[in-house]
Amino acid sequence: MRKKSLILKGFSVVVISTLLLACATAPPTPSEQNFQAPVVTLNWVEVAHYWGWWYFSKKIEPTKGTAGNYGAPLDLAFIFDVNNPNPYPVLMQNLRFTVAFEEFDLNTVGSAEMQWIPAGKTNQLRVHAMFDGRQSLLSLLVTGGFKLQEKGMGAGAGGAFKQLAVWWEGIPSVDFPIHVKEGSAVFNADDLMVVTSFSGTFPSE
């Protein structure tokens, strides 16, 4: 019985010592004063999947399937570095940004998947953005008409098609600037929250 008691006492001493040691070496806890906004940087953009440039109107009878207005899709991947300057891990809740080809906003995409970023480390995040030739055409026509005309591409659908061809055919060699703009990312540390804004251009200017 005495032996068991000694074992329990010894075990208690070890547990208490471990806890005290842990407290002494514990990293600082998040507070309003020490929570720094993580930094999001556009590292690079790559053409993830590519089908060239084409457009079929619904007047064209397809070999199989349903006729419709179809434009070539374009899948770009945006790779970001997400740096956590804090001495404790932070949770990225989501990230969102707008993509512009030259001065035309074409897409707003994001990532809603949460990820932890260790203290002082940098994670990488890949966000895909699908550009649909048909939707991009409509977006240009409804919102970009004046700008296309000012740019000398011509008015109406003719000007928009001409511009889309320049982008879709130029993307393999990235012949034009791709802007990431109006970006925001939400981070948490315990109950604290901070939003980081970011932007970038590829190729970098």
Binding site: V142, G145, F146
Partner: protein
């Protein structure tokens, strides 16, 4: 009592109870209500759709920060569908699999395509398509929105011009005012209120001229303006979205049409004066709520959350579309709270114990108080009509259609 017994009899049960309590609290804290959101951030309506989508997410943050749905957190599943209707249908199926209790929809495309399905599924669908025919619960009981519908807005806009502008015209009292419509004939959004506005023009005693077909993509509308000049309208109603409305107003100005202009909701925002320049002076429209940043109750929160969650977008680039998104989120929030309090978050309960119990529910934001009944989903009979004047949107009149034409409002105008 020996040490071993003490350990097992006192600490172990306490420890187990502690675990149980912590577990229960953790479960309670994690209770969420799933809501889907379909938005257009890439397609034909992305110029306004993106701002609306940002507003939805920001408003949900506000809801969460203010207690959620009686303590339950709303989990928002927000997707861009690029204004592709097949994708809207696909995402709707995903929302059902995610057990979303309601959907925040977007435009005419998804709303019209999904209307029969959501009615069958009893899924509340709060969207930014304000077609008058969606306000009749006999046909579309689960389609809802916080705003006055396109038809009501069109009736109010022409009435405001008739009340405030026509009496100052040199021909007032000498002849009938002349009225024409400019819109894309093939667009369901643009043509939705045509029958209603012409009916109102007839009630007010206008002479109605030929409609002009203006594409949503138009940046040159001179041929339509020249055609209008033959009729010499005093007033033109514009049913398109902002860019083509700006083009038409610009051409009307440069070609000296000499008419006043009234614009439907989705063509009337902060971008109109930016695109139309001095031609926008005096253009009137139905805004359905206050413009972004306007001095009205709750706007401080709209601006605060916009700055907080999207600091990379300057406030001067934000639009009334953000405020409209808040309007739809706020009515859904209230309906969910009422349904939850009644103990049932099913679709039918959200409709009956939630929305259809609203009686002059004030969402603020410059919007009229919201009322729904089981027979009428038009939210209000009063519509604020604005005018762009001296560099700002200014309230011209709150037109009280229900008060001025109570019989027609009650018996004739619902659903078209």
């Amino acid at each position: 009592m020996n040490v071993r017994n003490l350990w097992f009899k006192r600490f172990v049960p306490l420890f187990a109870m502690g675990i149980l309590v912590v577990g229960l609290f953790a479960t309670a804290g994690a209770e969420t209500i799933n809501v889907g959101s379909l938005n257009d951030m890439t397609g034909a309506t992305s110029d306004v759709g993106k701002d609306y989508a940002l507003g939805i997410a920001e408003a949900i943050h506000y809801v969460t920060d203010n207690g959620g749905v009686n303590g339950k957190e709303i989990k928002l599943y927000q997707f861009d569908y690029g204004y592709r209707v097949p994708e809207a249908l696909t995402k709707y199926n995903l929302f059902k699999r995610l057990k979303c209790v309601a959907v925040l929809g977007w435009g005419t495309g998804d709303t019209e395509a999904l209307s029969p399905t959501i009615t069958k599924d009893k899924m509340p669908y709060v969207s930014a398509s304000y077609s008058g025919h969606l306000a009749n619960p006999q046909k579309t009981p689960y389609n809802l929105f916080f705003a006055t519908d396109y038809s009501t807005n069109a009736r109010a806009a022409i009435t405001a011009w008739f009340d405030k502008k026509w009496p100052a015209h040199k021909d007032y009292g000498k002849r009938k005012p002349r009225f024409a419509c400019s819109y894309m004939f093939a667009s369901p959004y643009c043509s939705a209120p045509i029958k209603a506005i012409k009916d109102q023009a007839t009630i007010l005693g206008f002479e109605i001229g030929p409609d002009q077909d203006v594409s949503l993509f138009a940046i040159d509308t001179k041929s339509q303006i020249l055609a209008l000049k033959e009729f010499k309208p005093d007033l033109v109603w514009h049913g398109n979205t902002t860019m083509s409305v700006a083009a038409t107003v610009r051409d009307a100005y440069s070609l000296g049409l000499g008419a006043g202009h009234i614009v439907n909701n989705w063509g009337y925002d902060e971008n109109l004066p930016r695109l139309a320049g001095e031609a926008a002076e005096g253009v009137m429209g139905a805004a359905v709520c206050a413009f972004f940043g306007e001095d009205v109750p709750l706007m401080d929160k709209v601006v605060e959350y916009a700055k907080k969650y999207n600091p990379g977008i300057p406030p001067e680039k934000r639009l009334i579309r953000t405020v409209q998104a808040w309007g739809d989120v706020l009515i859904l929030w209230e309906a969910l709270k009422r349904a939850d309090k009644a103990g049932d978050l099913g679709g039918e309960s959200i409709l009956k114990n939630g929305f259809e119990t609203f009686e002059n529910f004030d969402i603020h934001l410059g919007a009229p108080p919201v009322t729904y009944t089981s027979t009428d989903h038009r939210v209000a009979g009063q519509v604020p009509i604005y005018e762009w004047k001296d560099g700002a949107f200014r309230l011209v009149e709150r037109v009280d259609l229900k008060g001025r034409w109570p019989d027609k409002w009650a018996n004739e105008w619902l659903g078209w």
